[in-house]
């Protein structure tokens, strides 16, 4: 008798005596009923996710629909949806961009320290603390940013306004409370730091040992080894970790709401003003009704689309990275 190993059916050939589940089956002696039950449960669970996602998208689209074609003076500010939404989108993008500029070098640096520089005894606790940072609720970050960080950065903002005030982004007079978009961005940067750090660290640790030894064997210092092997290997992974961090920064609500004393668009980062989409919705939602509600939900739809695009880009890069590492490991 030949071995009845579970092999892939030939192209076009109907697998008759096998359950629909892919992969190795339990064989004729196994229990098809159990398999069927479990595969049904798994299917149901994954369908629930799809249904929820579709439901959210549908809700956003339906609720935002009245905004389309509505006369301009019905909108908040009275000049149409575009002029309502663009300062919010700009504020969101500015805050997220600054957060990335702050968090990326620190996150990558800390990840590299943990994976390649720190003595083992230190690497674990440091990594653990960074992961803990991710577990702190965003409202705590917001409260800390508003009550501790903001007052303390005022002298720095004054200094920036005095010496770099010729740049529009540092135009004075600086906010006396420190509750500016720059402060909010710093808080956001701290919040996305663990995302970038833990993902980069994991990828750095996967750099093939053989490659690292090749570099060291040629007489490379540790930093040269990192530049020759770890960074090229992890480049795509770093990019996707940054994209995931960006996704979080774009959608973050509570911290920004608490830290930023918002207002209309303001090119100066050290004055009050500016607002993000998420924070705008959170601030106005409780009192909104009728058309104002539709307007806020439309803003939410815009945010949903932005984060969707960012996340899809990240996935795309992660997938390309997988192929890349598989071909070369």
């Amino acid at each position: 008798m030949t071995q009845t190993a579970p092999t892939k059916p030939e192209m076009g050939e109907e697998p008759e005596d096998r359950p629909a589940a892919p992969g190795p089956s339990a064989g004729p002696a196994g229990s098809p009923k159990q398999d069927a039950t479990f595969s049904g449960l798994a299917l149901a669970a994954s369908l629930v996710i799809l249904v929820v996602l579709a439901g959210v998208a549908l809700f956003l689209c339906l609720q935002a629909w009245p905004v389309v074609g509505a006369p301009a003076d019905e909108f908040y500010g009275g000049e149409g949806f575009l002029s309502y939404i663009w300062p919010l989108v700009a504020g969101t993008l500015i805050a997220a961009a600054i957060a990335l500029v702050i968090a990326t070098p620190i996150g990558v640096g800390v990840a590299l320290y943990i994976s390649h520089y720190a003595p083992r005894r230190l690497a674990k606790p440091v990594g653990y603390v960074i992961d803990l940072l991710a577990a702190i609720p965003s409202i705590i970050f917001g409260a800390w940013g508003a009550s501790v960080l903001a007052p303390r950065v005022v002298p720095l903002y004054d200094w920036l306004a005095q010496y770099l005030g010729f740049l529009p982004i540092f135009a004075g007079p600086a906010s006396a409370t420190g509750k500016t978009i720059l402060t909010a961005s710093v808080v956001l940067g701290i919040m996305i730091l663990p995302i970038i750090t833990s993902m980069s660290r994991e990828i750095f640790q996967q750099t093939p040992v053989l490659q690292q030894e090749a570099a060291l064997g040629l007489g490379a210092t540790r930093w040269e080894m990192v530049r020759m092997t770890v960074f090229p290997f992890a480049r795509a992974g770093i990019i996707s970790s940054v994209m995931l961090g960006l996704g979080r920064a774009l959608g973050e609500t509570m911290a920004v709401t608490l830290v930023l004393s918002g207002g209309p668009f303001n090119p100066s980062l050290i004055q009050s003003g500016n607002q993000t989409v998420a924070s705008e919705i959170a601030l106005n939602f409780p009192e909104a009704y009728g058309f104002r509600m539709n307007e806020l939900i439309a803003a939410g739809l815009v945010l949903f689309l932005i984060t969707l695009v960012v996340n899809m880009l990240a996935r795309l890069i992660v997938n390309r990275y997988k192929e890349f590492s598989g071909a070369n490991s």
Partner: protein, 259 residues
């Protein structure tokens, strides 16, 4: 170029575990020396102490001396980075840098430590190193292509070219043919015979025919049992090790009666 290696009562530890015990060995310049022995007998570990590569593993340390033409590699103030540019290494599996072209792979080590070189000098080094590794004719028309696109045997010779581009005194090879087919193995073995004219070559191999073919002297390492340290059992001209070994364990091993 080529230097003598002199090892005096070397013990290698991983943490508290003694991996290799009390090795004394003298390796002549311009020669090929083979290390043979069963798996886990410490021959690779010992090889890696010759350019301080074992230090990559946390907790690894040595006692004793490794002298390269009289200079102790473990002396005070000796930089392992400099040791590794003097004592090059070729690994078990070909490991060209996947993101670099063939040309950049060859120059990778030579460009380290912020050394600058003119384009002409770089071209010359690439050609001489690839010629030295018997690879020039096969790759001269595609130097800009990635090194990972070559066959396994070509990749291994590219790694050897990369090693000799640094102009080391000694080349260590850790089972350099274990991932190669017989034809590629032959090409690498031919290359080893040529390399000994300029370098001190030390090679770890599981293939006893290979040791017999390429080496002048052979060192047999053995281990008394799991958890025991590896030891250098016998070190003699290759002919003697294979035809007339003094130690019983060596005889058993080279005649295939081991285990």
């Amino acid at each position: 170029m080529s230097k003598r290696i002199d090892v005096e009562s070397l013990n290698v530890y991983y943490g508290d575990f003694l991996a290799v015990e009390d090795v004394n060995i003298e390796i002549e310049p311009r020669s090929v020396t083979a290390f043979i022995g069963p798996s886990g007998c410490g021959k690779s570990t010992f090889l890696r102490t010759l350019n301080r590569m074992h230090e990559v593993v946390p907790g690894a340390r040595v006692e004793g001396k490794v002298n390269l033409d009289g200079e102790d590699l473990y002396g005070r103030g000796v930089d392992p980075v400099r040791v590794r540019s003097q004592v090059g290494m070729v690994f078990q599996r070909p490991n060209p840098f996947p993101t670099m072209s063939i040309r950049d792979n060859v120059l990778a080590g030579a460009k380290l430590n912020s050394r600058r070189m003119s384009r002409a000098a770089a071209d010359e080094l690439v050609e001489s190193s690839l010629r030295g590794a018997n690879l020039w004719e096969e790759v001269k028309d595609r130097l800009g292509k990635p090194g990972s696109g070559l066959s396994g045997g070509q990749q291994q010779r590219l790694c050897i070219a990369r090693t000799i581009a640094v102009k080391p005194d000694v080349i260590l090879m850790d089972e350099p043919c274990s991932a190669l087919d017989p034809i590629s193995t032959l090409a690498v073995e031919d290359l080893i015979s040529e390399l000994q004219e300029e370098y001190t070559v030390v090679i770890v191999t599981h293939n006893m025919q290979q040791a017999a073919r390429v080496s002048h002297k052979t060192a047999f390492f053995n281990i008394a049992g799991t958890g025991k340290p590896g030891k250098l059992i016998e070190y003699a001209p290759t002919q003697e090790i294979f035809n007339n070994p003094k130690d019983r364990a060596t005889e058993d091993y080279v005649s295939g009666r081991f285990g």
